[in-house]
Amino acid sequence: MEGRINIPVGDWIENGVDWILDNLEPALDGIAWFLGLLTNSFEGALLAIPAWLLVLVLVGLSWWRVSWRFGIFAIVALGLILGMDLWEPTIKTLSLVLAATAVALAIGMPVGVAMARSDWLEASIRPVLDLMQTMPPFVYLIPAAIFFGLGTVPGAIATVVFCMPPVVRLTNLGIRQVNREQIEAGLAFGCNRRQLLTKIQLPLAMPSIMAGINQTIMLALSMVVIASMIGAGGLGNTVLTGIQRLDVGLGFEGGLGVVILAILLDRITQSVGLRRKASS
């Protein structure tokens, strides 16, 4: 139809992706190498530990940090995973989550701190975070696969991008919500900028930051399942196989594994935020 407007956003993105492929290959290789190393180390380490020992550690953590009831739940749940013969994919998923979370925190927390210090930066980063969170997660798989091929690394990258916003937001929010008189108390007793951050702002923002970390881990877990579509492996792969074969039983088993992992990670990380209350 004449006069029809067609803004070629898709073309621009493609051109951008091509440009990155042509010009930033060493950087992409570096990222791939680093993330590969990180996930493989986690996976190697977790698989090297005998399953019974890891189960014991997780049950112990649940018992000590959360409650004895949750400890019993952990025994039953982990026993179920072992019984369904899903131990190895569960560990693969767990190490992918841990690696992606580690990277997301390493980038996200400093960004959150910087945002808290500058209104201008906050205003510019906030829409980027909105975009990262609302974009359908499948979309991240495409550039990840283009840049890094198929496998664990692109899965980890897509996961990092998807799971980073909560920790950035809640670090920023936590620091901004610190009471004005507490900031003044820090300054009045002679804090410099670094001390103000490490001795006053970060400790007081910690409950909020811990909530952010918890959310980031949860998002990472959900994304890791999606990332199995580009070969990230793990429990997502089990689910995907179930879909491809229309095998309800297999799909449900994989899904159950994800749910168990999610509950354990959620409750244990939440308890860290309440450290003092739990111990006193």
Binding site: N179, E181, E184, A185, A188, F189, G190, C191, L204
Partner: protein, 401 residues
């Protein structure tokens, strides 16, 4: 004596264009007009103060009068728009960041209205915060924090967390935190305002006790005249960013600068402010020695408006009171001291509030003595009743002072 804090022509204008606000102040516009025209808020306007070493200097005013801004200008938590603040002769407003941080951590501690404690730290680590920031080692700073906690009576709670303590106890931690760095100046921003009246009085007494042990310069922000009178050596009253009056509690109550100052008197017990020496009669009392005759005594009493004389010893120390009507029982050559009434004298700084009870028990007027027991004057019943009546009127904010 050189003041420890000297404030000169200090201004603070908040808002989009402080310098423009400053110009308009110089043009003589008032706070509201400046806000309407430019959106700038005048926080502190042309403030000049000299605070002496070792005094408790209370800054009083209603909320919005600029008192909290003023105290934050002293340690530069707020940057001034114009003017100078000198602490021991050094201009805080032009100090480098490094010097400012050193001044704050060594010499200027602060206590906050909301206590501003760190909920994740134990009481002792809260008290040690200033020392921790200054880089004092863990063992040493805990020692000093422990001493500070003992000073405020919280030794037993060192291992508790702030949320396990009552408000008064939390503010004692705030006080200990300030004391731990052994500052020469303490800035206290409405430090006791969030506490219950009883606890507040207790904290005021504690502060006064601490001052007796070790005099520091205290700049105390308050909106409560009772508090200002109880603890203040001098009081500055702020209105709309300006200091409208500075003086001792007595000066402020006897000569309030304007209606605003007077409005603070409402409901305040100013019988605590006036002392025996303020209301005693020291001129019309004949002073006799132990062997003065009854005749001479009667003669001397006849020349003054009152009908009492006092007998002192050779060193001028008060001995007894003689009433004219009792002298009539004696022949003229007997010693007047034979009919004198021996009563206990009160020190000259006895509060007016404590005098009525004494007067009710005493058959004669109340003698007032100085620290060495020397006679200073008599508080007659008439003077006492007059003073109480004036106090009541002043408290109702329509007195004739």
């Amino acid at each position: 004596m050189e003041p420890i804090i000297r404030v000169r022509e200090l201004y603070k204008v908040f808002g989009p264009n402080p310098q423009e606000g400053l110009r308009l102040i110089e043009d003589g516009l008032d706070k509201d007009t400046i806000f309407e025209r430019t959106g700038n808020t005048v926080g502190v306007k042309d403030c000049n103060l000299d605070i002496a070493e070792g005094e408790i200097f209370v800054v009083m005013g209603l909320s919005g009068s600029g008192k909290s801004t003023l105290v934050r200008l002293l340690n530069r938590l707020i940057e001034p728009t114009a003017g100078t603040v000198e602490v021991r002769g050094r201009d805080v407003t032009r100090m480098s960041q490094r010097d400012l941080i050193r001044l704050r951590s060594e010499d200027l501690a602060m206590v906050f209205q909301s206590f501003a404690l760190m909920p994740h730290k134990t009481v002792i680590d809260n008290a040690a915060l200033g020392l921790e920031i200054a880089g004092v080692g863990r063992t040493r700073r805990r020692e000093r924090a422990q001493e500070a906690l003992e000073q405020v009576g919280l030794k037993a709670h060192a291992r508790s967390y702030p949320d396990e303590l009552s408000g008064g106890m939390q503010q004692r931690v705030g006080l200990a935190r300030a004391l731990a760095t052994d500052p020469s100046i303490m800035l206290m921003d409405e430090a006791f305002s969030a506490l219950d009246p009883l606890i507040r009085t207790e904290m005021q007494d504690r502060l006064l006790d601490l001052q007796r042990e070790h005099r520091r310069t205290v700049v105390f922000i308050s909106h409560d005249l009772d508090e200002a009178i109880r603890i203040g050596d001098r009081i500055a009253i702020m209105q709309g960013g300006e200091v409208v009056q500075v003086g001792t509690p007595k000066e402020i109550i006897t000569h309030p600068a304007n209606e605003y100052v007077r409005s603070f008197f409402h409901g305040v017990d100013i019988t605590q402010v006036f002392q025996a020496c303020d209301i005693m009669d020291s001129e019309n009392i004949p002073v006799l020695d132990a062997d003065t005759t009854a005749g001479e005594a009667r003669n001397r009493i006849a020349h003054v408006p009152g009908n009492e004389a006092v007998i002192v010893d050779a060193g001028g120390r008060f001995q007894s009171v003689v009433q004219a009507k009792r002298l009539g029982e004696l022949t003229l050559d007997r010693a007047a001291s034979e009919v004198a009434v021996e009563v206990e004298a009160v020190p000259e700084d006895t509060a007016l509030a404590d005098l009525p009870r004494r007067a009710a028990q005493s058959p004669v007027s109340i003698p007032v003595v100085d620290g060495e027991g020397r006679f200073r004057g008599l508080v007659t019943l008439q003077r006492l009743v007059e003073a109480l009546d004036r106090s009541r009127n002043a408290a109702a904010a329509n007195g004739d002072y």
